[in-house]
Symmetry: C2
Subunit: 455 residues, 2 copies
């Protein structure tokens, strides 16, 4: 995106937050097992949104009088030898449409001057301790008071602005989805009985890396899909297993895809797998049919929950009055998570700012098991990008616990459910752009009908 | 490794540091772009060495009276649904030979009790801000005083102990080298003109991941090898380029390999490439021939520097009295880094503890350009594992700078050197185990003679 885009975004932010100085700190390199051994660098998403600068040790200061100042590092001899030449702070600033540039070493003085002037300095709550510590030093406050001192006004304005995606942003997400589609093809080609999950994870990662794209999050590549965020890859795949892959490439611009597919290791679904798969697919398609600015994401969650409950009743796993069952949360034994979340520069977009992103002011998350994991409950708006990811799982310890407690026994056929232990889980996920009157499934179309997935 | 190994290591540490309590904190998940989106978890290497427990949110406390207490998380319902069941703290502790186990929530009370008893609480300097912040909370000190309060006695004892590798540790490094050898084969098979560096990086990563091994550090896969830590992968490889790969798999136990090879993109070295390659190879082999407990690693650095200077004189790039040239640091225009470093659980092993690892007490690093980057200068001992990684590079901005300053002009033929701009760099790296009377090159043997590398 070009300098005008970033400048316009900052101007809009300024209109919405007219008071005080606004300070954005870029992220630093994140140490793995010692300071010099770092994880792949990823810039803070707010910094990418307002300046597009993907480089450690930078800051952006919007002063109360409307000036914009970029702070960045200059390359010394050691940097040139070890990391290569760097553009000057002024060159970098110009690419983001920022008029003023200074060396990062001058940031403390600039902040100290502002503090002396009495201007409030607004910042977002940091999610890395290193940034909290840096803010503590700059602002002269203890590190453990930094989170509480973050600006809610600023957070609300940023969340509102980033929630609605421009055409350029949607194109970035679709670029990530193109790579993700190729990753699916690589996965499906590599799946067979006797192979280790890690081989599939490796084949998928190779496709992303070859495009010089990172993965947006640690991929899930597992035959134990009932553990929702299972990040181990050591299991040998058996012919009766379902391999669940939940993954997404990240575009060059930092935008995330988020896709889940289930591949039968044997190449074809067996009858039981096909039936559960169809229940999930029906729920996923019902959400696509219903998604629009006329509904909330909580509505979509319940549309999926009802479809799942109805499907499971047909199979004999649930019973009784389904509306009562869903209101009571009985379906959460099988579908224990939310229907989806916002997607953008972050996979859980803007999640660092908390529930102001997903919940209207004054509305708290449910404490009910399952529904409490719904990250986005608010009314959808044109330009929102959200995930649609229902699932059905058979989690042995969860089933044991509920059965022991006889929880929702009027709605759940526990003896039937026990027959499914070892089944794993099915989740199907696409990324939806909310339009004026409905939604559009983003990306090139990644196989999801059973016949398309089977070899 | 089994519980006895860890227990014996802790007992040896206790003998060397008999006073005070010793507190090891494991690492936490490291957030990427928001708290829940984390980098692949890697445990702190000291924690792996003394307990072998690779799990976030754990601590190990060795009390002054000789008790050992492990603190770890218990799995609640949400954990079971999202991350799967966890062993109890007691089960985990037993695998490390630790007698006592408590829930991690009890750590603050345990530390507070110790503080009240007046016992000093020894800890290592943290390299992650999150750990500094956690220590600050536990010890009731400001976060910015935590580094200064770390125990030098403890650091020295740990560094001494970890520097000498056991047979089990060497086997882990060789396991990492086996995977790394397969990664080399994948790289060589994938290199060809017109491909992007990222495709090679992806092919290598797929091999490591398929073995369920992470890479120990961000790999260097570049035709611009003159930038020593070049971590970009976007360049299209041309027939005249040399692809430099510096990478290493990490074993299941957390041990690192560290290998550098250079592959001619055309499939064969041209005459100029072959000559420079031979200079580096001669230096690398001279270090293998000389490495033993009779020498310091600084000696090895100078053996390599002299070989490189002699080779470059023959080619016409250096001139004059070579011993003077090397003492003055003139060779550092072409060989600007150190000959190598310790290798173990960390790629730069134990580097988090600073120069107490690589330099004898009272001996400071040189301030000379090049020699100042030598991480290990001390006398070698049987059981040390070190890297042997000389190189020759043609770095345009560095050459410009030195030539403008006429630096070491009596030793450097600048006009000849200018002919090599665009050449890139050559580095050849193996991992050496120091034995009683020499050294052994670890691993299965990864091609390094020109004829073995060429297709």
């Amino acid at each position: 995106m070009d300098a005008r885009t970033y400048r316009a975004r900052r101007q809009e932010l300024r209109r919405n937050v007219p008071h005080g100085a606004i300070l954005f700190l870029g992220l630093d390199e994140a140490p793995r097992n010692y300071a010099a051994n770092v994880y792949p660098f990823r810039q803070d998403s707010h910094f990418l949104y307002y300046a597009g600068i993907s480089q450690p040790d930078v800051a952006l200061l919007l002063t109360p009088d409307g000036a914009e100042i970029f702070f960045g590092p200059a390359a010394d001899l050691d940097t040139i030898v070890w990391s290569g030449p760097l553009p000057s702070p002024a060159e970098t600033a110009a690419r983001a449409g920022v008029d003023h540039a200074r060396d990062i070493s001058q940031l403390p003085t600039a902040v100290a001057d502002l503090r002396r002037s009495g201007a409030p300095i607004l910042y977002l709550p940091p999610y890395r301790a290193a940034i909290a510590q840096k803010l503590a030093g700059l602002l002269g406050r203890p590190a453990n008071e930094i989170a509480a001192g973050a600006s809610l006004d600023l957070a609300r304005a940023v969340a509102r602005q980033r929630s609605v995606k421009s055409g350029e942003e949607v194109a970035e997400i679709e670029a990530a989805l193109d790579v993700s589609a190729a990753m699916f093809r690589a996965a499906r080609a590599a799946v067979r009985p006797g192979r280790v999950e890690a081989e599939i994870a490796g084949a998928m990662q190779a496709v992303a890396l070859a495009q010089d794209c990172p993965q947006a999050f640690l991929p899930i590549v597992t035959v134990r899909g009932e553990v929702l965020h299972n990040n181990s890859y050591h299991r040998v795949m058996q012919a009766g297993d379902l391999l669940l892959i939940d993954y997404g490439a990240e575009s060059r611009g930092g935008y995330s895809a988020d896709i889940t597919r289930v591949i039968p290791v044997a190449g074809r679904f067996d009858e039981r797998q096909r039936a559960i798969y169809q229940v999930v697919l029906d729920a996923q398609l019902a959400v696509i049919a219903a998604a629009s600015p006329r509904v909330t994401n909580r509505d979509l969650h319940f549309i999926a929950a009802r479809k799942i409950a109805a499907g499971l009743k047909e199979i004999g796993l649930m019973r009784g009055d389904l509306e009562e069952a869903v209101q009571a949360g009985a379906h959460a034994l099988f579908f224990p998570h939310g229907i989806g979340h916002m997607l953008g520069l972050d996979t859980h977009d803007i999640e660092d700012l908390g529930d102001i992103v997903g919940y209207p002011e004054g509305e708290a998350r449910s404490t009910q098991f399952g529904l409490g994991f719904l990250r986005l409950a608010r009314r959808l708006e044109p330009g929102f990008v959200v995930t649609d990811e229902p699932g059905v799982y058979f989690n042995p310890p969860l089933l044991d616990l509920w059965e022991t407690e006889k929880r929702h026994a009027e709605f759940i056929n526990y003896s039937a459910a026990r027959q499914y232990l070892g089944f794993g889980g099915v989740r199907i996920e696409d990324d939806l752009l909310i339009t004026a009157d409905g939604c559009r499934v983003l990306g090139p179309g990644i196989p999801k009908a059973p016949a398309e997935i089977e070899r």
